[in-house]
Symmetry: C2
Subunit: 151 residues, 2 copies
DNA sequence: TATAATTAAATTGAACTCAATTTAATTTGG
DNA sequence: CCAAATTAAATTGAGTTCAATTTAATTATA
């Protein structure tokens, strides 16, 4: 009788792959709705933090979004071009670049409110499954952070 | 008494954001181990399909990986450069570009076998949670595909 | 059978992602 | 106080990622 061996190099036995694929597919669902706001997904989540915080350093934003200045600097410059934020160095510490939301940025929030219901991600999973997925993803993120911190 | 309103524009109320962040963080865990094989994550999952299929068209590969020719063409050219695959047009239908694994590509598999245990993703969640996450991600992927198909 | 429609890859261009390096400002230790 | 270490952003370069377009081959149809 042939022994059945678990092949860790099969795509279907990976947890990382469906995570990677699902992430891109879900972001893709946002695109048509974000196009209407002339925002990319990365710009959109950066604006989400700005709508919450009003003012934020690159470092803080990076911690919230799990992104570094290499990604964020051009994203924030682009949002500045569009007039949604303004950027300036902190007076007390000139190393820190602060990003602050503008009135135009606040106005964008009203239009952006329509995005989540239109994307309708919540219809892709049952309420219970969504809650469970949410819990698992944040557990995973927390464990990765904890693991790296202890390195 | 102040009414508590669910704010769909808060980062913490999104399901997409932790998916996007967790995906990137988990891929990041692979990097040091894949560096040793001189592979990127995208090249690695393409090789996974090649180890399974031996021969594959760009279209088939794209269906497996949820990627299009715009992404795959340079990835496959890079794998060809490294000698892990060879590429040629299908005789019956010259539109189809076939990718075939080489002996060197097969040899790489032996080294690659060490990657999944070294990454140790399985320690980031309990067995039960991993199984549940796996189920939820594939459900999500299936529902997105179904949704788009019916558009 | 010509022509039109379809299909598969490749190309192009804009934007993101990240590691590594650089620059500038601040903090720390001698 | 001053040199060394640290910190925050910006820059650079390689490699995705994707929509849109182009090219070439095949299939369908009038």
């Amino acid at each position: 009788m042939e022994e059945k061996i678990f092949d860790s190099l099969k795509l279907e036995n990976q947890i990382c792959f469906p995570l990677y694929a699902a992430s891109r597919e879900v972001v893709k669902l946002y695109r048509p709705h974000l196009d209407a706001l002339n925002l990319t997904y990365t710009q959109y989540i950066a604006m989400m933090v700005m709508w919450e915080e009003k003012q934020c350093s690159v470092k803080e934003l990076g911690k919230r979004l799990y992104l570094d200045s290499g990604t964020l600097t051009p994203v924030l410059k682009s949002l500045e071009q569009k007039g949604y934020v303004r950027r300036f160095r902190m007076e007390d510490d000139e190393r820190v670049m602060l990003t602050e939301i503008t009135d135009k940025g606040e106005e964008l929030r009203e239009k952006a409110k329509e995005v989540p219901p239109k994307v309708g991600c919540r219809f892709l999973l049952s309420i219970e499954d969504s809650i469970e997925l949410y819990r698992l993803l944040y557990t995973l993120l927390g464990n990765i952070n904890g693991k790296n911190a202890s390195d």
